[in-house]
Amino acid sequence: MGVPQLGVLSELTGRQSGCARGKGGSMHMYGKNFYGGNGIVGAQVPLGVGIALASKYSGSDGVCIALYGDGAANQGQVYEVYNMAKLWDVPCIFVCENNGYGMGTSVERASASTAYYTRGDYVPGIWVDGMDVLAVREAARYSVDYCTSGKGPILLEMATYRYSGHSMSDPGTSYRTREEIQEVRQTRDPVTSFKEKIIAAELATAEEMKNLENKIRAAVDENVKKAKSDKEIGLEELVTDIYADSKEEYIRGITPWDRLEHKTLGMAVNV
């Protein structure tokens, strides 16, 4: 499961080694058992309930984890599917990643109730320290057990933080202080604190951790280089995979004299 480093990085730079060949971009990454990234925040939550419903329908013990932020947590469609998931005992794990800010609007200014784990009302909710790797793991384990035992949906609120801005156009400093960001980085960073835990428990030495970090950093650097230099897909892929089975005679281009040929290149993973 998951998408390898290069697949993510190249998708960000829109190159052919991206997990969606560069056609999806930062908001639309796909892979086995990973149904995206959705640019319409909140829309992915009903999709997640649908995927979980499909698991139940086909008799498998699969669950679906549907993640959304504190900003999207106020979307009406999220409440619509809390209702249906609970009504039909759908094995969906709702995860609200509360990092304190929508884009630039803090949770206090956006939500009448910021206790997101309670917002599911009749859907039981758990508040989790999202900066604690082990807490997140335990909460995930618990939720998967909960859902697979036929108890229906569950809601997890992960308290976390966002260091950078929301997107490329947001510097991230117009609505909070640099000191606030620094403080979190120094006291609550999940990777740093987990590393300290490992060393304190003598599961690895500081030296070994250093070597691991260097190896990972080298791999990331390597993949970043590739992601920046890899080529984009060819122009003919502008009109591929619009349909799995196109019934159009041709795809209309910029002018009526531009008749483009549709091709289906993809092998859908969900079929």
Partner: protein, 361 residues
């Protein structure tokens, strides 16, 4: 048309039915009839029987047998798992349906009318239509969105809009708008078997209308190809292009005009995305005149698209007159009965337009 309030209206309807048979170009071996409602019901039943992954969801589709009885008997036959009553939460259940399709099932998502699909339109367009493309072919969405579209009778402004233009605008979707019972059966089956999202625009007024049905159409594997129009009535003087109920209005107008020696070729689009440009162009080359007929609003409507395509095609050089669009009036639908009648094209409006285009008194 289902109004049977007077004896003369009954006679007119019988006459229409008998004469309609003479216009259909499909071969009819036996005189069997089917209403559009039964055609859809049978199509859904056959596809659910054939493929375990097919299931139905929407408001009142199960226990109530469907708001318009299209899903009558299906919940009784297939049970809760495959026929699901949803709460009145279109955005939510449409999204759930799309997610289920992404995960490999074949949902048929009913909108009680397409007016309510506006609440869920983000899921139809952004989640369903675009996903195969955005995922570079990794995730396809074999979903069907179906329900009554366009003008009904006496349901006023918020319940009478035609969404043909809005949905057919978007690449990634297939959009069909059947007219005859055979169209409905063949297209709902084709839509369910299709690996891409298909929007099936039905019509409430057509549900109760009976059509003759060929032996071929009674088969469990009868399909109507998506993207192919049908010539309902051949003619040589002018081409009328329409979809859904407007085909009936065009056929009625054609009958009246035939009495005056004007032979109309009536094209039943059946699909509006893809649009069967080839059939329309071929017809215009033959007749040299074109009128589009629809119940929807004029601006950016189906007729507008047909006009644009004709302008950009070889057919332009064969036109002896400009293409004219006959459409609904550019206003929200009034409740007042006489105003509602005046808001929608009637056969006499089409007759008037044909005579004007052909410069006939």
């Amino acid at each position: 048309m289902v109004t049977l309030s007077t004896g003369s209206v009954i006679l007119v309807n019988v006459a229409k039915f008998l004469t309609r048979r003479a216009f259909s170009t499909s071969r009819i071996v036996e005189a069997q009839q089917m209403t559009v409602r039964d055609a859809l019901n049978t199509g859904l039943d056959e596809e659910m029987e054939r493929d375990e992954r097919v299931f139905l969801l929407g408001e009142e589709v199960a226990m109530y047998d469907g708001a318009y009885k299209i899903s009558r008997g299906l919940w009784k036959k297939y049970g809760d798992k495959r026929v699901i009553d949803t709460p009145i939460t279109e955005m939510g259940f449409a999204g759930i349906a799309v997610g289920a399709a992404m995960a490999g099932l074949r949902p048929v998502c009913e909108f009680m009318t397409f007016n309510f699909s506006m609440q869920a339109i983000d899921q139809v367009i952004n989640s369903a239509a675009k996903t195969f493309y955005m995922s570079a072919g990794k995730v396809n969405v074999p979903i069907v969105f179906r329900g009554p579209n366009g003008a009904a009778a006496g349901v006023a402004a918020q319940h009478s809009q035609c969404f043909g233009a809005w949905y057919s605008h978007c690449p990634g979707l297939k959009v069909v708008s059947p007219y005859t019972a055979e169209d409905h059966k063949g297209l709902i089956k084709a839509a369910i078997r299709d690996p891409d999202p298909v929007v099936v625009l039905e019509n409430e007024i057509l549900y109760g209308v009976a059509f003759p049905v060929s032996d071929e159409a009674m088969s469990k594997d009868f399909l109507v190809p998506i993207g192919k129009a049908k010539i309902e009535r051949p003619g040589s003087h002018i081409t009328l292009v329409a979809h859904s109920r407007a085909v009936e209005l065009s056929l009625d107008a054609a009958k009246e005009l035939a009495g005056e020696g004007i032979e109309c070729e009536v094209i039943n689009l059946r699909s509006i995305r893809p649009l069967d440009e080839e059939t329309i162009v071929k017809s215009v080359i033959k007749t040299n005149h074109l009128i589009t007929v629809e119940q929807g609003w004029p601006q950016c409507g189906i007729g507008s698209e047909v006009c644009a395509r004709i302008m950009e095609s070889e057919a332009f050089y064969h036109l002896d007159a400009p293409v004219i669009r006959v459409t609904g009036v550019d206003a929200p639908m009034p409740y007042t009965k006489s105003l509602e009648l005046a808001a929608l094209p009637q056969p006499h409006d089409i007759v008037r337009a044909v005579k004007r285009v052909l410069n006939v008194k």
